[in-house]
């Protein structure tokens, strides 16, 4: 029994030491929030300017060679096929979607549009979740890109994304993850993302994120009923139009949500009614990585535990079980419970 007790105590001591080191190191090791990349670009979507023409959806599909998404029910009712591209939400054939939300808010006509696409988070959960770095954040532009050659299709990014943005081709035998990559190839050539290029009203505006935020805050200062100038397509000042201000909810969605996003949204009705979840200022990725790093920092605690375990098992086998196993003494039972 003495030898048992000794082994037990040793392991516990090692375990406690490992845990203590890990926990003591914990607060200091908390992963810092990710900062906005220096050349971060993004989109500002203003629901009060959107007329729901869906030109951005058409532009998006053309630029990314995405197939149409047929609504077979509607087509059957009209006896046609292959006529309309009619997705009802983002899906594996649709990277960008304008949705009409009945909000019942009479001051804004009882409805509002909302643009759904990848938010290109500053601290993206999907990038943190992906085991094989198939999703990466560009260090300059901040665009969250997808590399199918790395992807194993585990779909942890879908679970991790608070906006349910990554989509998966469940209908294909060799599927991929599909999501908006902010037309990275077009942007690299100096073009606008296709949605911003197609938008006729300035509801979808392209530019550097810091300038988009400044533009957003300029708009938050507008009073309903005023006539104001709004840039169209991009912030470079080449095109603009005047429109009557209908009033804003006094915040920009994505300025702080989940640590900030590079697609920003403004609207006349509360964001949760547009299907945008209320999120804290800290990304879950930060919490998750802080916890993992606390436990596995330098593999210190696991190594310590491993050493203790191997030692205990080695001694156990060397001493052998046979001598003690045979006389099972009934008094050992209460003793056992004290250990566990």
């Amino acid at each position: 029994m003495n030898s048992n007790r000794r082994d037990f105590l040793k392991i516990m001591a090692v375990g406690a030491a490992g845990a203590a080191t890990a926990l003591a190191a914990g607060p200091a090791q908390a992963r810092l929030p990710k900062a906005l990349p220096s050349g971060a670009i993004g989109l500002l979507y203003d629901a009060t300017l959107c007329i729901g023409c869906k030109a951005c959806e058409v532009g998006c599909k053309a630029a990314n060679q995405m197939p149409m998404d047929h609504d077979s029910g509607v087509e059957e009712a009209h006896g046609v096929s292959g006529v309309w591209d009619a997705p009802d939400d983002l899906n594996s054939r649709t990277l960008n979607k304008i949705k009409l939300c009945a909000t019942g808010d009479a001051s804004h006509g009882g409805f509002s549009f909302v643009k759904r696409a990848c938010m290109h988070c500053v601290d993206p959960n999907c990038v943190s979740a992906c085991p094989v770095s198939a999703l990466t954040k560009d260090p300059t532009t901040g665009i969250v890109r997808y590399n199918p050659d790395a992807c194993i299709g585990c779909r942890y990014c879908q679970l991790a994304c608070p906006f349910n943005v990554p989509k998966f081709e469940y209908d294909k035998p060799f599927p991929k993850i599909v999501k908006c990559e902010l037309c990275a190839d077009r942007v690299a050539q100096g073009d606008l993302p296709a949605c911003a290029a197609a938008c006729p009203t300035g509801a979808c505006l392209f530019g550097p994120v810091t300038e988009l935020l400044a533009e957003g805050h300029r708009r938050l200062g507008f009073r309903p009923g005023e006539t104001q100038d709004y840039p169209i397509h991009s912030l470079d000042g080449s095109e603009q139009r005047t429109a009557t201000v209908t009033g804003y909810v006094p915040s920009i969605y994505g300025e702080t949500e989940t640590g900030g996003t590079q697609q920003l949204l403004m609207a006349g009705v509360p964001f949760d009614r547009l299907g945008l979840p209320p999120l804290g200022e800290e990304s879950r990725a930060r919490l998750s990585e802080t916890m993992q790093h606390t436990l596995y920092q330098g593999m210190f605690a696991p190594t310590l535990l491993f050493g203790g375990l191997v030692y205990a098992v080695f001694r156990n086998i060397r001493e052998g079980c046979e001598d003690r196993a045979t006389p099972t003494d009934p008094a050992s039972e209460p003793e056992e419970r004290r250990h566990d």
Partner: protein, 377 residues
């Protein structure tokens, strides 16, 4: 290690064995369809519910049910409880097939299985990903389990030289075999942290790695007790009630620790009020707790736990409670937002059932043909 293990012997191809074979074939049919036409052809998985029955049952619950080998190794090798050594091979057998089948299920579930080896390539791995830790740990542990179980197969093959070599190096693998499940059974819980609001607040917790680890060990002991009683009754062997009662005696302390942490955490974070809200979640929470409290009450009392029926039902309660906790966290209390619903499709269920059937067939084969169960003196 002077215990003698013997094959149980007897007819392998019984009616039950054929029945399991038919289940496996039905699963095989859907498996072919999954690989030819894609996951969507046979599964109800969606962009809102990317993880369904396969991940939740086959991997998250399945590997916890396969923690018998891990739990018994802690008892025998860390706490030096030699009297339990005769049970370790049977526990390892369930573990080896539980983990192997979980690994195979992952290949079925991931969309781009031909890229799976990327989790081993330094240029791709993401050290911040909880999934990477789970993937590496589960694969390594499956290999380690086969090494730990290999003496049984080597004995059956009468490969004595290899057997002697194994005996010299086994201590190392037993050590690894205790470390790895400690790491990934907790990480299976950590997987959910990043999902944030999608996991119901009664289950979303910063203690989730610890809660998953404790239930995995408790389920491991529960499974050893349940399986031993079930197998003894069905293979016509003498019940090992006395020894099983001793294993059962460990479980209540784990469950009490779990209940204190679980409820204490809710209280500290101020979430206890959620238990009074309408909806199925508080009931599911209560059901988990009730199963664990039932097992604790029975197993805490030496006179009760010595009765085989009480032992059987309480072990089953531990296993079901732990499984329900995992199902709740990953599926039932998981809500990605309005409009998404999930219930496993027939094809998904049949593939899972097929894997369970293969597990049972493998168990019967090894128990009957190789020296897994200890011979009675």
């Amino acid at each position: 290690m002077t215990e003698v293990y013997r094959p149980v012997g007897g007819k392998l191809l019984t009616t039950q064995f054929y029945f399991m074979g038919i289940l496996a074939l039905i699963g095989g049919y859907f498996l072919v369809r999954r690989f030819v036409f894609g996951i969507g052809d046979i599964a109800h998985l969606s962009d809102g519910f990317p993880w369904g029955l396969w991940i939740t049952y086959d991997v998250v619950v399945g590997t916890a049910l396969a923690c018998g080998g891990y739990a018994m190794a802690i008892l025998v090798y860390v706490f030096h409880r030699c009297q339990f050594h005769p049970m370790i091979r049977a526990a390892l057998l369930t573990s080896v097939f539980g983990y192997t089948l979980a690994g195979v299920s992952i290949v079925v579930d991931v969309g781009r299985y031909w890229n799976l080896y990327n989790v081993f390539l330094p240029q791709y791995i993401n050290l911040g990903s909880v999934m990477l830790e789970v993937a590496l740990c589960v694969t390594t542990y499956t290999l380690v389990l086969w090494i730990e179980f290999s003496p049984t197969i080597l004995e059956a093959m009468k490969a004595n030289r290899l057997l002697r070599l194994m005996r010299h190096i086994l201590f190392f693998f037993i050590g690894v075999g205790i470390l790895l499940p400690t790491m990934h059974q907790s990480s299976l819980g950590s997987l959910l942290i990043i999902a944030g609001y999608k996991v119901h607040p009664l289950w979303q917790s910063n203690l989730i790695p610890l809660l998953f680890l404790i239930t995995a060990i408790a389920m491991g002991y529960g499974m050893v007790v349940f399986e031993s009683l079930y197998a003894s009754a069905n293979l016509g062997r003498r019940l090992e009630t006395k020894m099983l009662a001793r294993i059962g005696a460990v479980i209540p302390w784990l469950l009490i620790a779990w209940l204190v942490l679980r409820i204490g955490d809710l209280a500290l974070v101020g979430k206890l009020g959620l238990l009074l809200q309408p909806g199925p979640e508080p009931i599911l929470f209560a059901l988990e707790a009730a199963l664990f409290i039932y097992a604790t009450v029975i197993l805490l009392e030496p006179r009760r736990r010595i009765r085989p029926t009480a032992l059987f039902w309480s072990a089953l309660a531990v296993v079901l409670g732990g499984a329900l906790y995992r199902f709740n966290a990953f599926l039932i209390a998981y809500d990605p937002g309005p409009g998404w619903h999930y219930f496993p499709a027939v094809g998904e269920q049949m593939i899972t059932l097929g894997f369970v059937a293969i597990g049972v067939m493998a168990y019967l084969f090894f128990v009957k043909k190789t020296p897994v169960l200890a011979a009675k003196p």
